[in-house]
């Protein structure tokens, strides 16, 4: 127990950093991912092309490379951000591609007749999406979006390699100082992640049931 009381402030701060990083990156990913998904199904070809380019680029680039680009590449063109903001941007921009894909498959799962009927009564493209397609797509995307969220929480650990002291970054640091307590250290870090992911999984399950009953 001595180990925990000694290192509690470090672990707590690291946990809060992981949590903050996850929430901010998640918000960025959700907003940007929704815009990208709307662009991908829009009737305007350049918008579709741009969104497809974005999604394919980020989906096929390792997150570490994205971090490297944001943290070390952007300063080359005089765009300097703090390490924490760099981590938020990296994880958020990267995850947005996966959010967009999850949303797009949800949109595609809504039969084309629904959007057609919406347009046929005179709704604009935006109105059709908002009033008819997205509310139905939302049902099918809750589980995949949940998976994206949980994967993202774990992906924030890459920030450890880029000077952000989040949960995973405490591992080598604590292990050096407390060589005999490796298992305890691992346990502490894993519990830290689970404090975020387990309630998330429960929340996702609740939402899933809510929207199912709505039907």
């Amino acid at each position: 127990m001595q180990f925990f009381t000694d290192n509690f402030p470090l672990l707590r701060d690291a946990f809060l950093t992981t949590l903050g990083l996850s929430l901010l990156a998640g918000l960025l990913a959700l907003v940007l991912g929704t815009v990208l998904a709307a662009m991908r199904v829009s009737p305007i070809p350049p918008l579709r092309g741009l969104a497809t380019f974005y999604v394919e680029t980020f989906r096929n680039t390792p997150l570490t490379v994205v971090f490297f680009f944001i943290v070390f590449g952007l300063p080359q063109i005089d765009f300097v951000v703090s390490f924490f903001v760099g981590a938020v941007l990296s994880v958020g921009l990267y995850t947005a591609a996966f959010v967009a894909e999850a949303l797009r498959s949800g949109i595609n799962s809504v039969g084309p007749g629904q959007a057609e009927a919406a347009r046929a009564i005179g709704l604009t493209f935006g109105q059709s999406l908002r009033e008819v397609v997205l509310p139905q797509a939302f049902r099918t995307v809750v589980p995949p979006l949940g998976n994206v969220w949980i994967a993202m929480v774990k992906n924030t650990s890459i920030a450890a390699g880029f000077a952000t002291t989040e949960l995973a970054a405490t591992l080598p640091r604590l292990a050096n100082a407390n060589a005999g307590d490796i298992l305890l250290i691992l346990l502490a870090v894993v519990v830290g992640y689970m404090l975020i992911t387990v309630p998330s999984a429960y929340g996702i399950h609740r939402i899933e049931r809510r929207v199912a009953i709505l039907r």
Partner: protein, 251 residues
């Protein structure tokens, strides 16, 4: 029966051509539909009937030619097009009711969002229309709880709620069990009697005889024949129409 009001036709297609890749799906289509006229479109599967319907409210674009509604050329895209579509009601083979909305909400969505009516006004009118098509007591259910015939009648009410100038029906009874076909055709017949301008793709000859001013026969992307129903069914002039009629009459 052939007596029609004079003046500009309500819907006019002139020299319309459309391709799906290599397939020339609509070929030099000329068709004028007057106010209050009911036109039945008939023809073999794949002849382009649905495509014709869908070009009239520009759910499908065309490569050449011109389509006007009430003298106004169809806009390309965007808000203008949306406004024009609001004036053209469409009823689909597969109903396409909004699955996540109640029957009442299905009917009020357009009037509220497009016509900017108040919710109370839209609901009052929606209930009248639902009563008119005989599903007033189902207003609070969701589409999946209704039979096909009921859903299609709701779809008609949804289109009517926009006070359209013209209504398009694409095989509205083809997906229905036989016992439900008449309940839908009866609603359509009464609409026709009330003077609604209608384009109806259907093989229901009883309906065509009863309600149509004109039958248009399509084959392979062309309008092959256009005649009053009695003439078309008893003395078609083209061989292709004769051939087609003999097939549908024999089963």
């Amino acid at each position: 029966m052939t007596e029609r009001p004079t003046g500009e036709p309500l819907v006019r297609l002139s020299g319309v051509n459309k391709w799906y890749g290599e397939l020339h799906v609509l070929q030099d289509i000329d068709l004028s539909i007057d106010r209050g006229e009911v036109v039945v479109v008939i023809g073999p599967s794949g002849s382009g009937k649905s495509t014709l319907c869908r070009t009239i409210n520009r759910l499908e674009g065309i490569e050449s030619g011109e389509i006007t509604i009430d003298g106004q050329r169809l806009p390309e895209e965007g808000k203008e097009l949306a406004r024009l579509r609001a004036d053209v009601g469409m009823v689909f083979q597969s109903f396409n009711l909004f699955a996540h909305k109640t029957i009442l909400e299905n009917v009020t969505l357009g009037p509220i969002k497009v016509r900017k009516q108040s919710k109370a006004d839209a609901e009052k009118r929606a209930r009248e229309l639902l009563d008119r098509v005989g599903v007033g007591h189902q207003a609070d259910k969701v589409p999946a709880q209704l039979s096909g015939g009921q859903q299609q009648r709701v779809a008609i009410a949804r289109a009517l709620a926009m006070d359209p100038k013209v209504m398009l029906f694409d095989e509205p009874t083809s997906a229905l069990d036989p016992e439900m076909i008449n309940e839908v055709l009866d609603v359509m017949t009464s609409l026709a009697r009330d003077g609604m301008t209608m384009v109806v793709v259907t093989h229901e000859m009883g309906f065509a005889r009863r309600a149509a001013n004109r039958v248009v026969f399509m084959d392979a992307g062309r309008i092959v024949e256009s005649a009053v129903p009695e003439t078309f069914f008893t003395a078609p002039s083209s061989d292709r129409a004769k051939d087609f009629l003999s097939k549908i009459l024999n089963h």
